[in-house]
């Protein structure tokens, strides 16, 4: 029992994935063209670490997703806060947001390529479209949790809505906003890779398309692992900042 308790569930999950992978390639005998071995994949990943092209692809994707995410946040958060203050504004905004929220963002890729070409701008627009409409209802729900929770401030201190939002809703909802952002960042990353798969000059998505042309499945898998690792890293980064900045919420 003591031995069991010492193994983190995270390691067990990772172990099971690798076990399945191993079984498929070694025991079941799936061809490397369809599923490369663990060894081939990691040796390709290791080789890639020494290639300038690899880092260029990673940083291109990184830069795009970060910029698009920040722009999306800077648009979505103020709109959300204003919709908490102004009910009529919220009604108007949410009609548009709900419309966009149900649209599959990849349908915009042909249009963004047509309008902005295959450079950074089309990717940034796709990530923006994919995340801002998700951010607004999530941020709104988190902000609403604070609304009316501290009604003594309105009734006893006679605070108006705008002061209440500044002093209570914003600081009180920030930990949840960080969590919402963490989830949205995952979507941003997904949309970026899709956009890069369908038309780009560089980036991880484009690197996967390049590898597919040469049937370099091991390279595709190496990049899939890179995407996953970046995801885990970003997730942990958000959690780290939340714990450091908002100790009171834990």
């Amino acid at each position: 029992m003591q031995f069991k308790n010492k193994i983190s569930p995270a390691y067990i999950s990772i172990g099971l994935v690798f076990l399945l992978w191993f079984v498929m390639t070694t025991i079941v005998g799936v061809k490397p063209m369809f599923l490369p071995s663990i060894g081939a994949t990691f040796s390709r990943l290791f080789e890639s670490l020494f290639l300038a092209e690899f880092w260029k692809d990673v940083f291109s994707s990184w830069w795009r997703v970060l910029l698009a995410f920040v722009i999306s946040f800077l648009v979505a958060y103020p709109l959300t806060i204003y919709s908490v203050i102004n009910e009529r504004f919220r009604e108007g905004l949410f009609v548009v947001v709900e419309f966009f929220r149900y649209l599959p963002v990849p349908v915009f890729i042909p249009l963004t390529i047509l309008w902005f070409g295959i450079g950074d701008m089309s990717k940034i627009v796709i990530v923006f479209l994919g995340t801002f409409a998700q951010m607004i209802p999530m941020f709104y729900n988190s902000s609403q949790l604070m609304n009316n929770k501290f009604d003594a401030f309105a009734s006893a201190l006679k605070w108006d809505t705008s002061k209440y939002v500044r002093k209570i809703v914003i600081p009180g909802s920030l930990p949840n906003i960080v969590d919402d952002s963490r989830i949205c960042f995952g979507w941003a990353w997904t949309y970026l890779i899709i956009a890069e798969l369908l038309g780009a000059e560089n980036g991880i998505g484009y690197a996967i398309v390049r590898a597919q042309r040469y049937l370099a499945t091991d390279k595709i898998f190496a990049f899939i692992i890179v995407i996953g690792l970046i995801g885990i890293f970003m997730d942990r980064l958000f959690i780290f900042f939340k714990k450091r900045l908002f100790k009171w919420s834990i």
Partner: protein, 245 residues
């Protein structure tokens, strides 16, 4: 002065108090005492302007309570302490706010902390406090304001028994020294008798005033002093019994 004249209090679909009239003089401390759910908190909600009387008028210093613009010190039942601020900052925030609208008294925060038995805990975050400590912080936050009207909704219920009497003594002295008109909601007879000048005993809902206990008039010891030895006095015990009875 707080005045309710021939009021029905409650919600559009539910009347909590019927034909309710009372006048609370400046600096007076009154308690509304009654069973749970009889509508005691409705009185406070009408003073704070959260609700308006269904019938009649509720006024503070001659103004409709709902339009009264000065800050009212208030301990809501759920404390409503801001978890991102520590104990001291929670208290200071309300003090600063009350000073913004003509409040002229600045109480030393350390003295307030001492009054509510939280000496040395000013830097503690709200999620580090026990239920009783959080309640005392909410009380301290109220005491630090220079509001001339104070509403204490079940303020001492969650306060630990070992601190309750000490807190009551400090609280009563503070309210009297600063001439603060205070409305207390309670179903604790000891708190009602010790803290108040008058106790309004309410019936179950829809509530009416069953009895008014004039503590200063009817119980001589309590008129002259409210110190720790009062709790053991015959007058105090008799007053408590008259509430229970």
């Amino acid at each position: 002065m707080i005045k309710f004249e021939n009021t029905d209090l409650g919600y559009p679909s539910f009347t909590a108090l019927e034909d309710f009239s009372c006048t609370i003089a400046r600096g007076e401390i009154v308690t509304f005492f009654g069973p749970s759910g009889c509508g005691k908190s409705t009185v406070i909600k009408n003073i704070l302007g959260i609700l308006r009387p269904l019938k009649g008028t509720a006024t503070i210093d001659g103004n409709n309570a709902a339009d009264y613009q000065k800050k009212i010190a208030y301990t809501p039942q759920d404390n409503q302490l801001l978890p991102w601020l520590n104990v001291r900052d929670n208290i200071t925030l309300w003090q600063k706010e009350s000073l913004l609208t003509g409040g002229d008294k600045t109480f030393e925060i350390d003295k307030i902390l001492e009054m509510v038995q939280l000496n040395g805990r000013g830097d503690a975050m709200i999620n580090e406090l026990s239920g009783g400590m959080a309640r005392r912080t909410a009380l301290g936050r109220c005491m630090a304001t220079s509001s001339s009207v104070m509403c204490l909704d079940e303020a001492l219920v969650a306060v630990e028994r070992k601190f309750r009497r000490k807190v009551m003594i400090g609280l009563r002295n503070h309210l009297k020294q600063n001439d603060i008109t205070t409305v207390i909601i309670s179903h604790d007879y000891e708190e009602a008798v010790f803290m108040s000048d008058r106790v309004f005993v309410l019936s179950p809902s829809p509530a009416v005033i069953l009895n008014v206990l004039d503590i200063n008039q009817d119980f001589k010891i309590l008129k002259t002093k409210r110190t720790s030895d009062v709790f053991e006095s015959t007058d105090f015990i008799t007053a408590c019994k008259s509430l229970i009875g």
